[in-house]
């Protein structure tokens, strides 16, 4: 009798694994983020950089206002490249730029901002990268333009002159 328990147990175990992998395949978009625009922004809670407070996304993104969510990290070299563009955009236009500090080290991030300046109204922390997944980000840097709690434009990779022009057009 004892000899029969193990095979049955293992078979059941592998059948369950099979089923789970099968289900996993059914939703192949698990980690492949959707690119469609006009998607509602996710609801999440995040720590604010430099404080111990947490904030809910509902309290950040108000209606009838443009927001730019920029995912960045101090270890990400293209983020440095686009930083000056963010700063100039912040100076020129009435737009709230929100930073999402992705999988970063606090000291390095602080140094980064000290060195290059901060265009951000608020910086949220995403230590383990889960918020970025909620947003459907491919990686860093990535930038989302938000209006009425909807993503109206998404830029994958660093910003350049063209994408900044486009953002300016959109928020006119």
């Amino acid at each position: 009798m004892k000899n029969k328990i193990l095979p049955i147990f293992l078979s059941v175990f592998f059948l369950i694994s099979f089923f789970i992998f099968y289900k996993g395949l059914q939703t192949p978009n698990i980690y492949i983020p959707k690119t469609d625009i006009q998607k509602r922004i996710p609801i999440f809670e995040a720590e604010i950089f430099d404080t111990v407070n947490k904030i809910n996304s509902e309290d950040i993104f108000k209606e009838n206002k443009f927001y730019l969510l920029n995912i960045w990290a101090s270890w990400c070299l293209p983020c440095r490249d686009e930083h000056s563009l963010l700063i100039s955009l912040n100076n020129q236009k009435d737009i709230n730029i929100i930073g999402l500090n992705y999988k970063d080290n606090y000291e390095n991030a602080k140094k980064f901002l000290k060195e290059l300046g901060s265009p951000y109204k608020k910086i949220l922390l995403d230590k383990d990268g889960t918020i970025a997944i909620e947003w459907g980000a491919y990686g860093v840097p990535e930038t989302f333009l938000i209006y009425n709690k909807k993503i109206i434009k998404k830029i994958i990779g660093p910003l350049d002159k063209n994408s900044v022009m486009e953002i300016k057009e959109l928020i006119k």
Partner: protein
Amino acid sequence: MASSIGLYSLFFGLSSSFLIIFFSIRNFKNLNIFDNKIISLTFLQLLFVIISFIGLILSFVNSDFSNETVYNHSHTTKPLFYKISGTWGNHEGSLLLWLLVLTLFIFIFLITSKQQNKQYRILTLLFQQIIIIGFFIFIIKTSNPFNYIFPVPIEGLGLNPILQDPALAIHPPILYLGYVGSSIIFSSTLAATTLKYISKEWAKHIKQWVLVSWIFLTLGILLGSIWAYYELGWGGFWFWDPVENVSLMPWLALTTLLHCILVLEKRLTLTSWVVVLSISTFTLSMSGTFLVRSGILNSVHTFANDPDRGLFILIFLFSLIFLSLFIFFFFHRTQNKNINSFYWLSKETSILVNNWFMMYFLTVVLIGTIYPIFLEVISSEKISVGPPFYNKLIIPFLIPFLLAMAIGPKLNWIKSDLENKLNLILFLVISILLSAFIVSLLNINFLLNTILVSSAFYLFLITLKDFLIKKFKNLSQNIAHFGFSLLILSILFNNIFSTEIITNLKIGETFKTEKFKINFQNIEKKEEQNFVSITGKFNVENLDGDFTIMEPELRIYNQPNIVTSEADIKTNIFEDKFMTMNIVQNQEYFNIRYQTKPFMIWIWISVLIISFGGLKSLFIKKYEK
């Protein structure tokens, strides 16, 4: 042209499988002697796959863009070397390579196993053919490398520049030799279990295959790691990326198997371990393929993802798992109890201890890789598992593992007593003092680091001593264990002593710290065959006056349009100096990242030493006591 020949050749290859199966079954029942037709047919099948593979290589070399795979992954301006390596740098081509190795290995197996039992050889071939057919159908149905496109495009899309690297060009073939070698072990173990053929002779014969796969797998992982270090420019060599993990898991299983086979060869015990490990090594390799190619995981290794492919491998994988389970439970019987008994302080015990540690490491890696998928399906919660998880769960357990590695080989079979206890304790004291001295100079967690470094030093000193006074029982084992201690020491010191600086500089500027200064001298722009290169020249000067010129490079590729950063790495036996440069847009500044990484080269050397231990054991069969 070459593409069509390749495609037809694939169909012929698949048909030979059925002929082989037909003749094998007939031969299995009827005749006493092995039918040579089977060997000829296996050779024919190999030939068809070779033709098909050459067809794909030729399509790449001639930049035949009517072939979809070539169009997606090649470009006319690409250097010839990378056109050829581009053949297996993509999903379709790499599967064809996998198939090539499968057919090659079973052919080699047949011609080198002539002294083995006839039925065992045929059954191994049959199991192997099941795998081969699975791959044939997988390639033809879901990943055909010879798809035709019309109208024929004028230019291809190009190979991802980060894949254009010599280490990466040979990394997949070497790794596949390791993976596929494990398929031979798998088939052979199933055959031997079914026929109750597991014996000391069988262990001796299959040990060769275990060693071959193990050496290739070790070298394959090493090459991947070297590539990550030199090409990705992140300054690390292991990231616990899911794809790295899936190559590490079969390695852990295979290493454990290697130790068990040695026991089986001498003592005819631990047979269940051997069977289970042979099955797991191959199924882990297959799961790796499933996880990477189905798009269920997210990783730096991006293959074109297609759920159909995932489904196919999933069904195939689980069919193999259930076949193995069936064979294991219906045919496998453990040996007589008398032979199994051994005293608690013996070589058998030490190998069992090794097994359990390895299984623990394997479980940690497996859970870290698979658990996020399970959690997502069950609760739609997303988590990502990173290096801290692995470091926290694995590093503390290395301490007893290293100590066991030092003492285990000193024991005898069945029953043993430790000789030279004084010596062993003396070395332990020396290691602890030495480590405490080194660690106390630094501002790090004293207790954990001292214990960790001393256990690594202990293994290092014990194996080193054995080399010097030639008191080892088994030279290959001593070499491999010595290499492992060196690997752990290098990784530890590399982590403890690394430094890093990130700054923005423009030409002519100097950056100073207490220990050194970096002077940005000039930049140079060059046009190459398929990219534009920008090289910066930096003078890094130490306080005592020695200086090094560092020349990091930026490459702007034309097809596809990607900028890659080529780190400049100056290696010597004590440390690596590592510098990367990046453009800061619309500014005259360049972003500079400068790192010093001590003992980097010793990480590579120690892995080479470890595989050399295996190589020596493969060629020099004499095994002392």
